[in-house]
């Protein structure tokens, strides 16, 4: 047994209240496997990971890693494991090779071994060409791979990865899992990875499902799926997961009012170009977005999605090209345009130290909603996004899913007719995402133009039209079916996306 966890409990103090991050968690894990740690936000995944590394001291119970007690032998454990924390822990102003060398030396890897191992790791991760580039200038996917190398370079017996795939595109995710599999097979490594992407469960040999600090289930992905067979025919892992947690399988979402052909064009983009020095981030992009349409902007990390997005919002100025909103140029009508736009940023970007209600009051007020109308809108938002119980709680104390809801609520208070969602669901669990999409579809049904970016292909399914970008260029536009056709008649959107982008 590589890990034995017995009755592990941990509580944190948050002001007056005590939060039970882990309660009575017991499990054992065998060596030589990939183990997935799954659970919704705030389930205690990170806390468990930190206990396994000896970074936290348990309040009750014990953890044995590699046969060593995590409190008494923290150093001994840390000598033998590799750990990639959520924030990666890379030094942004050191280059790729400097980061690798640093971690190698810290782990006491000899120079000969370093010379032997690093080229191979770079080869596998296809980073060889960039060794001189600063870590801060890498895309999300590349950072993730670099963090992986830094942890792998010392041939650890056990690797711990804390949500390594958040904000990373499909391709990079697939790549990472295949690299991990390779190491498990070649070096008999054991890997524990936590993730909020349930489709990734299938890459794992074993899964642990955590919910509210308790271990709900442990088993292979198939065993977990089997648990749901009584309720649904041929359940997906996601359905089984939701069944375990909520006790029911959610219905599939559909649009009530599909977008009409003659709906007015809200945003029109023509030959949009953005250059940063010699680098062309967005290269002659043209598209239209109609009222009531959900428009998806997809692409690998660094394809130019965010730059396009920022230009659409007027946060960046385009180098060339034209953006018109309702037939008028954006640049000249920025303020008017903004007053009818809602924006949910990729990162949580509300005021953490203001309460839910205060955040709403501010954003409502900022858009000029006031008096009775503001109260009505806030009541509406509290109701719709089920935030009422938290109205007086500070935004930072909300669980990730509720933060996202609050961000959405704040963006909708002034009843915008255009809504921008930039990876608005990243880092949230499937249950919250489902709720979320129900709201987005309702919005579109009521005639709002919605522009989204996302890395989840199951979310992209809901888009009326999708634009796929690669290296700043548009490589495919159309409905989901059209994209599948363009992507070599692929069966799923994910296949089509992978085919188009590679």
């Amino acid at each position: 047994m590589i890990i034995e966890c017995q009755n592990l409990s941990k509580t944190f103090k948050q002001g007056q209240e005590k939060v039970h991050a882990l309660s009575d968690v017991s499990f054992e894990l065998e060596a030589g496997k990939i183990i997935g740690l799954l659970g919704p936000d705030g389930a205690g995944k990170t806390t468990l990971m930190r206990h396994l590394c000896g970074l936290l001291r348990p309040d009750g119970g014990s953890v044995k890693v590699l046969g060593v007690d995590s409190v008494l032998g923290a150093n001994q454990i840390q000598n033998q494991i590799g750990y990639v924390p959520q924030k990666f822990g890379l030094y942004e102003n050191l280059s790729i090779s400097e980061n690798i060398n640093l971690y190698a030396r810290l782990h006491g890897v000899s120079d000969e071994e370093l010379a032997q191992r690093v080229p191979r790791l770079l080869e596998i991760t296809r980073l060889s060409r960039f060794t001189k580039r600063m870590a801060g200038k890498l895309s999300g996917g590349m950072k993730q791979k670099l963090a992986l190398i830094c942890a792998l370079v010392s041939r650890p017996r056990l690797m711990l990865l804390d949500e390594p795939t958040v904000g990373v595109d499909v391709l990079a995710r697939r790549e990472m899992w295949s690299i991990l599999r390779q190491f498990v097979e070649e070096e008999a490594m054991t890997i524990i990875a936590s993730t909020a992407y349930l489709d990734e469960a299938d890459y794992c040999d074993q899964t642990l499902i955590l919910f509210e600090g308790r271990l709900l289930a442990q088993g292979t992905p198939d065993e977990i799926r089997k648990m749901a067979e009584r309720f649904v025919e041929d359940p997906t892992f996601e359905e089984a997961f939701q069944l375990l947690i909520c006790g029911s399988v959610p219905e599939r979402l559909t649009r009530r009012n599909p977008v009409r052909e003659d709906a007015p064009v809200r945003i029109e983009v023509q030959d949009l170009v953005q250059r940063f020095g010699d680098f062309t981030a967005v290269d002659h992009l043209s598209f239209q977005i109609r009222s009531g349409e959900i428009f998806g902007l997809l692409g690998a990390n660094g394809a130019g999605k965010t730059t396009t997005f920022r230009m659409l919002c007027g946060l960046n100025q385009a180098t060339e090209g034209k953006i018109t909103v309702d037939g008028e140029p954006l640049a000249r009508n920025l303020e008017r345009m903004r007053s009818q736009t809602g924006y949910v940023a990729q990162k949580f970007s509300l005021y953490a130290d203001l309460s839910v209600r205060q955040n709403m009051e501010f954003f409502g007020g900022a858009y000029g909603v006031r008096g009775k109308l503001l109260q009505e809108r806030i009541d509406w938002a509290m109701e719709t996004f089920q935030l009422k119980p938290f109205a007086r709680m500070n935004a930072e104390k909300l669980a990730m899913g509720f933060k996202r809801r609050l961000a959405m609520a704040c963006a909708l208070l002034h009843q915008p007719s255009i809504v921008f969602l930039d990876e608005a669901t990243s880092g949230t669990d499937p249950i919250s995402r489902h709720e979320f999409w129900r709201k987005i579809l309702d919005l579109a049904d009521s005639g709002v133009a919605v522009i989204i970016t996302t890395h989840f292909m199951d979310e992209a399914q809901y888009c009326d039209r999708i634009l796929i970008m690669r290296d700043g260029l548009s490589i495919a536009v159309g409905s989901v079916d059209e994209i599948c056709r363009q992507g070599g008649n692929a069966a799923t959107l994910e296949e089509a996306f992978v085919n188009l982008v590679t």
């Binding site: 940023a345 970007s349 509300l350 130290d353 205060q358 409502g364 007020g365 900022a366 006031r370």
Partner: protein, 366 residues
């Protein structure tokens, strides 16, 4: 109307952000007041309890009288007599004494009229400032002594009156001065924090997506800082009046107007500094780079007119310099607005220029 409503919402948010967190509230209020009280006692250029000793080669009644005059002075503490030049050197080097009086052997004889009597005053020059002061005090005692010993007066009696501050009380000057120094530090930190924190938390983007214009955001942030700063400043004023009993001759209205303008100028500088930086660390360092020279060259520690002319001109851009010129005058002299008009003129110019620079530098970042 609608614009005002939006701005009010923004102001409310800024105030909530700064005041809601109890830790934050404490860190805004307590340090300024503690600093004022502690430094009010510490920051004195006055000399007290200067250790001095006499190397008495003459050993006469006259030399003993000089010694007793030093003993009687509140400034000096007379240590046991020095035994030799070596003893003097040793004790001076080890800071056992700061000032030494050497009375030569022929002192009494000289006094009796044969030649000119001489004494030697030696002072530790490691701290140039207090060395100068100690020397002045010692010379005064010696001159008084000499005058009293003359058969017919051969000196003027000088009657000195210190205007506005008859006892030359150092606190009367230092404490109003500290108030402006502390407000400057406080205000720079708050305004830098209010911008840097939004940048680090990513809320700045979100804010820019709202219909606010850049200047509106800056203006409201400035106003919020001004409102917040009023709290610690009025607490400090309370302490100045009821704890330190600094006399107040001027008009409260003028004081309020001056502090308001001073704080506005400081805020604009804070906004400008943080507009040039990208994160909290940078803006904190930036503020340091501003506070240190501003503080050093403000006229607090050393008089303004002793600075080289170039510095005097450059320091016209230093709000602290103007605050320090004006505040003791309002407190102690009770001047009218007309005499401080130039200070208002400078402070308002600083505010406008710094705010414009901050605006330009923010607008360029979009």
């Amino acid at each position: 109307m609608k614009v005002l409503n939006r701005l009010a919402a923004l102001l409310k948010k800024e105030l909530l952000q700064l005041l809601k967190n109890p830790k934050m509230r404490l860190s805004l209020f307590i340090p300024p007041v503690v600093q004022l009280v502690l430094l009010g006692y510490a920051a004195t250029l006055e000399l007290k309890e200067v250790d001095c000793a006499v190397l008495d080669h003459s050993r006469t009644a006259e030399s003993r009288e000089i010694k007793s005059r030093f003993q009687g002075s509140p400034t000096f503490v007379v240590q046991p007599d020095l035994e030799s030049e070596e003893d003097l050197k040793f004790r001076m080097e080890n800071r056992k004494i700061q000032l030494a009086l050497v009375i030569p052997e022929e002192f009494a004889r000289a006094k009796a009229g044969h030649s000119q009597p001489e004494v030697q005053v030696l002072v530790d020059g490691r701290n140039a400032n207090s060395a100068g002061l100690a020397m002045t005090y010692a010379a005064e005692i010696l001159r008084d002594y000499a005058a009293s010993k003359m058969e017919n007066a051969k000196a003027f009696r000088v009657q000195t009156r210190g205007w506005h501050n008859p006892n030359f009380n150092m606190q009367y000057f230092m404490i109003p001065t500290l108030l402006v120094l502390i407000s400057l530090i406080d205000v720079l930190m708050i305004s830098a924090l209010s911008i840097a924190r939004e940048r680090e938390d990513g809320t700045f983007e979100q804010l820019r997506m709202t219909p606010f214009a850049t200047w509106e955001i800056l203006l409201v942030k400035g106003c919020a800082t001004l409102c917040i700063a009023l709290g610690p400043i009025s607490t400090c004023l309370f302490f100045i009046h009821f704890w330190f009993h600094i006399p107040f001759q001027g008009s409260c209205l003028l004081l309020a107007a001056l502090l308001g303008t001073f704080v506005s100028a400081s805020i604009s500088i804070g906004l400008f500094v943080s507009s040039l930086t990208r994160n909290l660390q940078q803006s904190m360092l930036g503020i340091f780079m501003v506070i240190v020279p501003f503080g050093m060259l403000s006229g607090m520690a050393t008089p303004l007119e002793s600075m080289p002319p170039v510095f005097q001109t450059v320091m016209l851009a230093n709000p602290l310099r103007h605050g320090i010129e004006a505040l003791p005058r309002i407190f102690l002299e009770g001047v009218a607005f007309s005499e401080l008009s130039h200070i208002f003129y400078f402070l308002i110019s600083i505010t406008l220029v710094a705010f414009t620079l901050a605006y330009v530098s923010f607008a360029r970042q979009r």
